[in-house]
Symmetry: C2
Subunit: 360 residues, 2 copies
């Protein structure tokens, strides 16, 4: 496959790239309407949901902002469970629109602790929603969303989930886990270029929508709903990405969710085993380590920037560094979407070859 | 060329579709950084501006919302000069975020009258910004933006321009006309699939930004600015669209703006002449008729829906109907981007053949 091993954009299979090259059609015509309905229906299968589902032309962050502004009002108390860069981004979006964010922020590299969330919900009965990242791309940690969602629903709160780098790669049964708004994006496990966020909206989220007072126009789920009824989106969508998603979803349904999840689990294990064999430590505790992105602690003496440059220029392997305060302290291997164990072997071999010249 | 003759998405030349099929690269790596800087610099040439310019992954409407939330505060008085569906959409976005919209709404099909704008500005000295559509896609009318912008600056107001279906096709010298925020989108004259809005931001718009209090996160120009300084976008961009824009901008710079504008003027004239020769009237007054989209009044007896279906299914020509209250009353021929006079001849021939079976 390809040497791009960052946690998104992920490499795209050739049949998906071919779909990206399709000529434009009328986005308000019958042909596009059928494609949009087909993509929406198949996407729901992969979300394991009967909830409404919309395609929004934007990055994953746009989807997170949409989750916030469609369900909350200024002044609403929200519990923000953050374990890294993207959890904090989700919280920032809510704060920016006037939510009263109660931060339950963990040291980067940790997973959320269910007992802390329970205490926070007990302490502040007026919390309206809990915002949580399923898989934190910046630290390579997967939260125990099954347990978190069960607790959140015990307290009868709205659950807003950033599943950008997990959905379609790691098991996330949206209905079983009562996720009210669930956000993912095309350039992750879906093997499609960036440009589209996909969001599911539960009946409870719709009830919150009816009362929510944050300003919304472009992100308005109500507009998305009424246009989807006629096979359209309110605003001109990224038509090429919809073409590409249609091909990707057929590939994914053919492979089947259990096989996809098992493949990501195998690939995740191979990545962790591989870096440990090179003498590295994982950045997070292994039991929370993600099956879509492996964050590796830089050994003493390692020049991460130099390592990434050698890998990129001499081995055609592109990995990610650390974000913000983790810059220079970790590097990350993305393994979601179009990936198998051979790709990980290539990464590990390249790492082994490059390390001596990067200070180790 | 292609038979898709709606006012966006427009057909894409093969070299642009090939760029859409490029494999993904790291959107935070050096290669993408260079492409983004190159596209931004060339886009500025075509905007005829030295202002800042940003690519936002969204539809044109996202760009309009961004123009509003980055420059205004709730309660700000804005004069909304609307001549159709998209002008009203721009006003709605502002109202939704709490602007006090003073509507100067014209009957659809008319152009804005400079004297009305002058009176409105005289009557309400507290108006902070004027929102105007350069080319109204729903009615096929081009406003006299040179005159409007000169008046707006005489009153020292901020000028927010929807140039979605004009920029890159019809002359719009952004700096000369003092447009503070100017919005366009990839699927129009740029010959690229939808998924990206492009916005220019003047120093005066930045001064407004510094005081603007509408909530903004995803659309924040300040974030776009700080990330562009390192060759990035704040959120994962639609990488394929950026690849495609790079090819498109090179094609456009090679043709040259004067030639592009002259070609659109010729094509617009050919469209108007062609439909009039078939006995149709233009929907707007001819002196305001747009060179990117021709709106044609339905003759008595004409079944517009049936006409569009025959054209689509039997002639491979896709036109647009009327929007909202113009449904069934007009049809529209898009002629912007990858279009020449032969394409218009094909449309006129197909119309001639189809009309007898559509009630005329």
């Amino acid at each position: 496959m390809e040497g791009l091993r960052i946690p998104g954009p992920t490499p795209c299979p050739p049949e998906i790239l071919r779909a990206m090259a399709r000529q434009m059609i009328n986005h308000r015509g019958p042909e596009f309407g059928q494609i949009l309905q087909d993509v929406t229906a198949k996407m729901k299968q992969l979300f394991q949901t009967k909830n409404d589902l919309y395609l929004l032309t934007c990055s994953g962050t746009g989807g997170l902002e949409a989750a916030v502004v469609n369900t909350l009002s200024p002044g609403d108390k929200v519990l923000s469970v953050s374990i890294g860069f993207f959890g904090e981004r989700f919280a920032e979006a809510a704060a920016q629109f006037g939510a009263e964010v109660i931060p339950l922020f963990y040291e980067w590299g940790k997973a959320a602790d269910i007992n802390d969330i329970r205490r926070a919900l007990q302490k502040e009965p007026e919390i309206k929603a809990v915002m949580v990242t399923h898989n934190e791309t910046s630290t390579g940690v997967t939260n125990d969303l099954a347990a978190i969602s069960s607790l959140v629903k015990e307290f009868d709160k709205l659950l807003l989930v950033d599943a950008i780098s997990s959905l379609g790669s790691i098991d996330l049964p949206v209905d079983k886990w009562h996720c009210d708004v669930t956000v993912t994006a095309s350039q992750k496990g879906w093997m499609v270029p960036p440009g589209m966020a996909m969001v599911s909206v539960s009946p409870e989220a719709w009830r919150a929508y009816a009362k929510a007072k944050m300003p919304r126009y472009h992100w308005d789920f109500g507009k998305a709903k009424s246009y989807l009824e006629k096979g359209q989106t309110p605003w001109t969508p990224a038509v090429s990405i919809v073409f590409a998603l249609q091909v990707a979803l057929d590939m994914m349904l053919k492979e089947g969710l259990p096989s996809i999840f098992a493949r990501h689990a195998r690939v995740g294990r191979a990545a962790r085993k591989g870096v440990k064999a090179l003498g590295f430590s994982l950045f997070p505790e292994e039991k929370y380590a993600s099956d879509t992105v492996t964050a590796v602690a830089a050994k003493s003496g390692l020049d991460v920037k130099k390592l990434l440059k050698i890998l990129r220029e001499e081995h055609g392997i592109v990995l990610s560094g650390g974000q913000q305060k983790l810059e220079g302290k970790i590097f990350r291997i993305g393994h979601l979407g179009w990936v198998n164990e051979d790709d990980i072997k290539d990464v590990i071999s390249a790492l082994k070859a490059a390390l001596p010249r990067a200070g180790v």
